[in-house]
Symmetry: C2
Subunit: 319 residues, 2 copies
Amino acid sequence: MAKTPMTYAASGVDLDAADRAVELMERHIRRTFGPRVLGAFGGFAGCFRLDFNEKLFKRNYRDPVLVACTDGVGTKVKLAAQMKVYDTVGIDLVAMSVNDMIVQGAEPLFFLDYIAVNKKIPELAADMVRGVADGCVLAGCALLGGETAEMPDVYTPGEFDMAGFAVGVVELNKIIDGKRAQVGDVMIGLASSGIHSNGYSLVRAIVREAELDLNKVYPDLDPTQTLGRVLLTPTRIYAKSIISILHHYKVKQVVNAMANITGSGIPGNVPRTLNPGVNAKIDKKAWEVPPVFRFLQEHGNVEEREMYDVFNMGVGYVS
Amino acid sequence: MAKTPMTYAASGVDLDAADRAVELMERHIRRTFGPRVLGAFGGFAGCFRLDFNEKLFKRNYRDPVLVACTDGVGTKVKLAAQMKVYDTVGIDLVAMSVNDMIVQGAEPLFFLDYIAVNKKIPELAADMVRGVADGCVLAGCALLGGETAEMPDVYTPGEFDMAGFAVGVVELNKIIDGKRAQVGDVMIGLASSGIHSNGYSLVRAIVREAELDLNKVYPDLDPTQTLGRVLLTPTRIYAKSIISILHHYKVKQVVNAMANITGSGIPGNVPRTLNPGVNAKIDKKAWEVPPVFRFLQEHGNVEEREMYDVFNMGVGYVS
């Protein structure tokens, strides 16, 4: 038997800090709420009205298909922890799920986040959620719920991980599944904001091996920011751009297939959105590869082919 | 510059193992699919038809509200890693989110999982997903998507974490929010299957401090199983029981409020489901506290009040 009476608090879980974190987060979360979010903040579950018949914000679906995605941000969390910058990876988290969802033609409705930390420091947890809320505003969806788990001995001090979950909706007859892509279709590449959230194990290995300094400004990379800040540039969220194109054409369907350029790059992501029999022909000279990729390639002595297989090389989304 | 050309694989990420894990998982995931799941396995996003007009399985909603929850299983993952039992915590993962969702009267539709590991060992990853799929079958929902992230230096070897996301639906006029609970209403406690997934930091601290052996059978606890196995008993999923009660009464609403007994126990969870002005009166002698709680209380020298504040004490759900 234990000599002194044991308590939950003594086992390393601080419930007061948890309450204060929720308090700090509430303001950020409320920014993302629209009229379709129901009920009080802090219930057991988040509620979201799908059809919405009220005036001013009418939305109705005939044959709604819910589209759901989940993803993390990979070891970009590790870089954020190293730089002690906690309020940007939340944007990446939203981007990772939402950019996958819009590939099907779906419009994002809501998002939930799971954040696991070694120790819940209310201000840091609120910073992380602020990033997630910023991402939700950029994606036009509500941050409907979340969980911040304090796991003292799964994560080492300072470390954390994040998982995100997005739900959207599309009419059954408007789902984009690539089956319509035809020989002769044109592909449009949308610029990425940087490395996005894939390939960070390689990025960090290059930083380590080439003995780069995250806190140094490298003028040939970016004369205005440190390397660490450049590498933490949040993933671009394509939701509003893509949804506005899709909604612009009520009858005609101008987009036949789309691809989110994540892990395995353009060669890995474009073909999987196309029918067999349709090939994508991409001219690498059609766009300029941004400096960050050339910088990493050079310092890591990475082969050209490997670069395109791991990174987006400046094109984050293809439609 | 790095001396030898750097590659993604050399930075610690094994894409072949990832492919093999997906292969092993597919069988388990497909078990959970109903006719409302659309599209091929392995797309960018999971698609689920909300309304369903086809014969044999008609489902239509007048004013659907989507209800979403996210949760992890806390440090029960740590115990599972210690015991090298990977196929049960997935059930806990589904239970944690789904039991929260049914509190609002919602019926679970689909679930997504995020699993993060140090190294993706295909068989272990598939075991974890098998547990999640088992949970989904018990909850009556589809495992619509998931992500297994390999994060070599966020998690130490052998460690992992899991997050789950559940989405359900309820008609707007059937949402249960506790506002209807009245003085004189009767509460019914549903038995838990054990500790469920809360308070494991305390459980593990007791095991450590009292020098208990996870691989030993303690006859006063359970003569048929080791302590470790008893502590890993999956959380009971109340979805089917609760939904069948709610569906049984088409017009009359017999359930005015419900509570999922998670962290902070009965005293923390029952009051938050009730209106101010309504008090819950609970007779602790109305049920027998299962042996596992008495065993931990005794070995940890935990005060009675603390036990009820942390654990469900045998009652996992109250309606």
